[in-house]
Every structure is written in structure tokens, then in C-alpha cells.
Symmetry: C2
């Protein structure tokens, strides 16, 4: 009875047998031959459990287990099966195979539910083929139209619409997903970091998805001879940058609290010669937090540090925004539901934010959303070393099953 690890293991094996880079990780681009074969396997599993199959605008797959009420809003779970280039076996797949196993258990044990249960595979979550993330879910929500899907092209100039047609995919559910159509959505996903593993947690209960503020800092000093210019007469842009970069860590790690993260990932230094004092340094700052106020505060403090450093060192700075994504709060009710399910099983869990974006980041626009994280070994993700223990995945699936069933009552 209940979740069967063996079946989850088989799903993972079969889906990951479809890769265009065998031996070098999983490469399964949306609407590719490998993608369609993996999708076909999911459809077979859905059909076997008696789900009604449909394909929505954007190419998302839905298998519906009807509830006692034919026309009520559904409870949705699922994730994606497209991958990055030479990625791992679990990102997206973990959520799809958990959804399949939840569906199989409900179906074979005839677990009654009032609301329909939708098991879904969103298309092009990673953006690896068409260069933009979450295309399938955004199209389903009506945020991307047919024109957009015609405009978005892969490296070979094939548009999203063309690729979808060539793959043989037919859209038989042309409706935009509107508020009211879905009662709740829960996605299970691998954590893609080391928080759960390091803390010995088996499950993460996601409270929200971090907002992001990203900007570019362009520091200018004076390039000069490294031998002939005494220390006191320098305006070294890199020395200024080193102070600001250090402060980015200090502000996030020591001043603002446990959830803020801030990263400098790109640094370019000009003229870039060992014997010339750098006259120009460009670097990015990426700040993420669940709390929009703390996000704002981090930007304020880093900006103050930039100003102070420039004043102290005779440098000038130009700060250019790169991108901004507001934080997304997930449903408090679903957080509680997932916590209760974990607690009743004595599964060690942690409330946490999601640092990465998922389809679940935009679904709050139309429904209540929750996410369950399972641990990633050494935090590795988007690489062949990506790994999650089957027992952790099964623990997550059990919590998913209980939560979905409660929501569907």
C-alpha cells in the first residue's frame, strides 16, 4: 500500500534513458525526439491509471483523475521533463515521477476525492532550447501569446510553434488557465543546494520564492604603471572593487539575517595587465531574499558602501540595474498542510525559501501554490552528478500524496 519506491525508480530509469548525450548527462530539449519519447512514457503511465490526457496551449501535458465533482477546480501537481544541456536525472523529473506515483496510488487504492487531480508536465521550464524560461507555464497562463511563441526561436531558427507542430503535438485544450480553474498546485522539486543535506533534513517546506535584484557596478579609477606609482597616489579600481565585493558578503551574511543571499559572479578588470594598476572594473551584484523590505535594505547598504568606497579612493561608480524579480510568497495554508504531513510521519523537515525559480513562481497568480523540496547530494544540480536518494524522494512523494488528497477533499 502507498508510495512504492520501485515504481519511482523505474520511472526515473525510463525517462532518463531518453537523452541526446548518453554517457554525458541528460540532454532532453523541449519537443526533441528524446523529449517526445519521455513524454510518451508519461502519457502511457497516465493512461494506465485512467487519467484523461490533454495538451494545453504552450504544449503542457495534463492527465486528469476525475473527482466526485466533475466541474470543480482541480488540485494540480507535477513539474517538467526538459533539461539543461548535459544536466542531471532529477531536476524536474523528480516532480513528474512523484506526481505519477501519487496518481497511481490514488487510482489503484481508489482513494476518493472531490476535486479533480491534475498531473502535469510543463513544457520548456529550463529555457535551454528557446532561450527563455518557463515558456509552457507562461503560455498556459496567457502571459505569452501565439505571436510570442512564433517569435521565440531555437539555435536553428525553428520557432516554438513550429517545433511543437513538427513533434506531432496537438493542442486539444485551448483554454488559458484562469483564476478559479485550479484550487491548489503543489510541486515537488530537488533543492539544488546543500541546506537540507547539511542540516540532515529529508524534506524542505518552501515558504516562498526569493525575489532577485541584480545590478552591474562599473567602477572607474586611473590606470597607471604598477612600478612607478606609489601606493598613496593610486586610484586603483580593483582595490575599490575588492572592498565593495567583501561588503556584499558581509551585508548579506552578517548584517541582514539568515535568508538574504548576495553574490558577485562576474568581474572584469581593465586593462588587465599584471604590471598596470586597474583603471576600470565591472562586476555584477545579485541579491535574493523572500522579504522585499530586506531586499531593498541590502541594495541600500551595498549602494552606501559603493559611495563610501568611491569617496575614500577617488573613484567613480555607475550602477545599472540588470533585472528585478519580486519575491513570491507561497500559500501559508499549504505550507501548514505539508508541515503536518511531514510531522505525522516524523520526517525531519525545514521551512525554507527557494533560491531558484520554478513554474511554481508564476502559478500564484492563478492559484494557491506550495512546494516540497528533497535534498540534492552536495547541492549539485544542472550537471550529471545531480543526485537525490530514492528514500528521500519517496518521503517527499508520501507527503505530496497526503497533501494532494487533503486539498482534493
Amino acid at each position: 500500500m502507498g508510495i512504492k519506491v520501485k515504481r519511482i525508480e523505474k520511472d526515473i530509469e525510463v525517462i532518463n534513458s531518453f537523452t541526446s548525450t548518453p554517457g554525458k548527462g541528460i540532454t532532453r530539449f523541449t519537443f526533441s525526439e528524446e523529449y517526445m519519447k519521455a513524454r510518451e512514457y508519461v502519457i502511457e503511465e497516465l493512461s494506465r491509471m485512467g487519467a484523461r490526457i490533454s495538451t494545453s496551449i504552450g504544449g503542457n501535458l495534463r492527465g486528469r483523475l476525475e473527482g466526485r465533482e466533475a466541474h470543480g477546480p482541480s488540485v494540480m501537481t507535477g513539474s517538467h521533463i526538459d533539461s539543461v544541456f548535459q544536466g542531471g536525472r532529477f531536476d524536474g523529473v523528480a516532480g513528474v515521477v512523484s506526481a505519477l506515483e501519487v496518481g497511481r496510488v490514488i487510482s489503484e487504492e481508489r482513494l476518493g476525492h472531490r476535486h479533480p487531480i491534475d498531473l502535469v508536465v510543463f513544457a520548456e521550464e529550463e529555457g535551454s532550447r528557446f532561450g527563455s524560461i518557463m515558456i509552457g507555464s507562461r503560455a498556459w497562463l496567457g502571459k505569452l501569446g501565439e505571436e510570442d511563441l512564433r517569435r521565440m526561436k531555437d539555435r536553428n531558427g525553428i520557432s516554438y510553434l513550429q517545433a511543437m507542430e513538427s513533434s506531432g503535438l496537438k493542442i486539444d485544450d485551448p483554454d488559458v488557465l484562469k483564476p478559479g480553474a485550479v484550487k491548489a498546485m503543489i510541486e515537488l522539486h530537488i533543492e539544488q543546494s546543500v541546506v537540507l543535506e547539511n542540516g540532515g533534513f529529508q524534506v524542505g517546506v518552501v515558504e516562498g520564492i526569493n525575489g532577485i535584484k541584480q545590478f552591474l557596478v562599473n567602477l572607474r579609477g586611473v590606470a597607471n604603471h604598477a612600478g612607478a606609482t606609489p601606493m598613496g597616489l593610486r586610484h586603483d579600481a580593483l582595490q575599490g572593487a575588492a572592498r565593495i565585493i567583501s561588503s556584499v558578503e558581509d551585508i548579506a551574511a552578517r548584517e541582514l539575517g539568515r535568508n538574504t543571499v548576495a553574490t558577485v559572479g562576474i568581474v572584469h578588470c581593465e586593462p588587465g595587465q599584471a604590471n598596470v594598476i586597474p583603471g576600470k572594473v565591472e562586476f555584477t551584484v545579485d541579491i535574493r531574499d523572500l522579504d522585499p523590505k530586506r531586499l531593498e535594505e541590502a541594495v541600500k547598504r551595498i549602494s552606501a558602501e559603493i559611495e563610501k568606497t568611491c569617496n575614500d579612493r577617488g573613484l567613480t561608480a555607475e550602477v545599472t540595474p540588470r533585472s528585478e524579480t519580486p519575491p513570491v510568497a507561497l500559500s501559508k495554508d499549504i505550507v501548514t498542510l505539508i508541515e503536518e504531513a511531514a510531522a505525522s510521519r516524523k520526517t525531519k523537515y525545514l521551512r525554507m525559501p527557494s533560491g531558484a525559480l520554478h513554474d511554481s513562481s508564476i502559478l500564484p497568480e492563478v492559484t494557491e501554490v506550495g512546494m516540497i523540496f528533497v535534498p540534492s547530494r552536495e547541492g549539485r544540480s544542472h550537471c550529471p552528478e545531480e543526485f537525490t536518494e530514492l528514500k528521500d524522494l519517496a518521503a517527499g512523494a508520501e507527503i505530496l500524496l497526503e497533501s494532494v488528497l487533503k486539498l482534493a477533499q
Copy 2:
């Protein structure tokens, strides 16, 4: 009587009329058409003052004003006329035109001297054409042989020897410059930095040429998702690098004393994405000092900082030496001589090290060496903006004249 600014001005004008990048600074590569025309002008000036012209191995030009003693060691002065790509009008040229003016004054005023006076132009000081600095002077000292000059090639595959031959240059002085051949050498050069200008000094008396230790630091941490990895679980190579880079300045500027300079001029960061924690950072460290012990101490302290940072942050470091040039002490007697000449004219002067290398860096192997610096406006050098006031150049030339004459008695 004495140094005439107008003649120095004319020399500078004529020599700098020969550039392969007119309107975009001075480009006069060794043995190029422009170089040979400028060299021809110098030869004409030398001939006019009655100097005996010869070309040494390596292609260096020498004009000798005979002294009362035909065979004694000579007193040498001069510099170079080759330039970097789109460089300035004074680097090297300042020392050549001062030498010409010194020669003209001695010749026309029949200022008697016991030792011969050699007015020289060293070939390929900058290394802009053949990729290695001070080729002419090193060949003259026997540190580079014919084989080396055949091996060293420009971008078009033309060797140093071939280029010398094609330019029509004939070597009529095949002797290696041995100890005893030259009693003393004084080079006047632009400072290429801001020390003299900032302090209001008209002349710098160079005590020595800084030694250089240059090494490459390769820091490795763990690349990870910038959103999903909490601050406490990171091994961010760039954050480690920022601390070490800061310490490079602190150690040179605040711990070791006035003459040490240390620079990080190159930084590369991998994978170099705004949303990925840097897993690898490579940067150079360039340390210069006149005192070999302080140079050693700077390396020791920076190495300790690297080790501490790696321990604190779970990083590893690999340190690879890039180059090492020992400090060169110039002649104390000549320093005193130059100081006396400056003091007697009430010229405001400063004792200082040379941060950059010059032909004078290797001449101490065969003779007593001194250097006179003149100010560079805003410290600019190796660029079209390079500028030295004629009055400063003339002040330097007067001190050069007095020093050369005293040494030649």
C-alpha cells in the same frame, strides 16, 4: 652659453615627426623606416658636434667625443628612441635629446674632459617589436648572442638580425661591453608617474631600480547556485580573492613603508555568470621594492594572508611564480654627484626609486650607473598624452651636463 631649450625642442620635434601612426601618438618600432629616419637625425647631430659614430652588436648607436686620454674608459649617457604602439613623445627620447644637447654644449664650448664621452641610443628598449625588452643593451653586454637575435622574431616572423640587416644597419663595433670599458653611465628619463609632479619636484635622483616579484594565485572554491546556496554554506572563490586583494594593498601601503608597491592587475573569475557563485578565481600579484628584504617580507605576508583566507573559507590556493627581478642599487657616488649639481642650481629634487625598468637596470653589471628623472604630467606614459615641460627637461639636462663633465675629469 650652456643648455639651450630651443635645440632640445627642435630635437623632440624632428624625432617625433617619424611615427607610423601620425595623429595617434608615436609608434616607432626598432629598425622600422620611421626608426631609421629618427636614428639618421641623431647621427647627423652627433656628426655635427664631431662625435665618432659607431654601431655596436645589438644595433646600439654610439657617438664618441674623444677626451684627453684616448684609451680610458668612457662616460656614457643616452637612452632609446624606439616606442610602444601609439606611445608618447618623451619616453626614451628625453634621454637621447638631453645627451645630444650635453654633447653639443661640450663640443661648442670646448669644455675639456679627460675621459671619452659616449652619447648612446640603445635599440629595442621597449620590446614592442620583438616581444622582449632591452634587447640592444643586453646584446651589447653579451647577455644575448647571435643565436638569440636570430631566434627573436616580430609579428611577421622577421628575426631581430634580419630586421637589423634589412634596415641597412652595419655593425662596426663588434666588442661586448666589458667591465672597465665604461667608467660611468647616467641616463635621463621621464618619471612615468606622479611623484615628482605631486611633490612639486623638478628632478628625481634615482637611488635604485625596484626589484619585482610577480606571481599568479589560483583560488578554488565551489561553484554553486547563487540563489539556492545560503551564505554560511558557500566556498566562494571571489570572496576569498577580494580579501586577499585588499590585503595586498594594506601590506604595501600601511605595513611595509613608503617604497613598497604591490598591485593586482589581472583577475579572472569562473564560471563568470551573475547567478553562479565563483568556483575559481585567478589573479596576479606584482610587488616591487628597492630593498630585497622588504620584497621578501611582502611576499611572506601576502602568502600568509592567502593561507589564512583558504583556511577560513574552505578554499584551496595554488601560487605560481611568474617572474622575479632583483632590485638594482645605483651608484651612491653618482647619486651624490647628481644631488650636488641639483642643489647648486637650487633645483628642487627628490631621491627616489625607479619603479620601471630601463637599460640602466642591467648596466650596473659593467659600470657605475646613475639616473635622473624629470616629471611626467599627471604621470601619463606610454600614451599620446605623455608630456614633460621643456623647462624641466632643460633643468635635468643641465644637471646631466655637470655630472657627465665631473665624471669625465
